[in-house]
Subunit: 94 residues, 2 copies
């Protein structure tokens, strides 16, 4: 089984392709608005993905994946803050 890349050839995180394959995500954000029902469904998707892998990990792997989940959540928040600030600057420059 070929492994999906997490890191691209330039040594940057490369998860957009995997996120892009989540049809439920694309549908949820398509209208630019995320409602309570969409949020609840994504909670279920996330919890299902957690449960699918959690029990198969050793304690050491579990600790490392926990750290990885925290880092990717932080990265995603920072990326959105950064992108929104850039969009604001671009609007101001126009």
């Amino acid at each position: 089984m070929a492994r999906a890349n997490w890191i691209d050839d330039d040594n940057h995180p490369d998860l957009d392709a995997h996120v892009g394959q989540l049809e439920h995500f694309a549908q949820a954000i398509a209208d630019g608005h995320v409602d309570e029902a969409e949020m609840a469904r994504q909670e279920e998707n996330l919890i299902a993905a957690m449960r699918a892998v959690e029990s198969s990990l050793s304690d050491e792997q579990h600790a490392k994946v926990t750290r990885l989940l925290a880092e990717i959540a932080a990265y995603t928040v920072m990326q959105m803050m950064h992108d929104m600030a850039q969009a604001k600057v671009q609007r101001a420059v126009k």
Copy 2:
């Protein structure tokens, strides 16, 4: 070794505590702005966390963690979109 919880007693994702332990993240967003240097450092943190666990996973575990990373990134984006929309409504109501 006690395992960190990913899911709380009410069956909701429970990662805020783990994200909150990342001092570099708290520092980066403290001023409400994420600059290029902070983004680059977080890329390094994320890649280090990926490399720390990736090689120890079986192919099956790797595929499941890949899905989990995508779901958590999608969840984080949706949560921010949802929270921002709520904040907008609250400002409008005031």
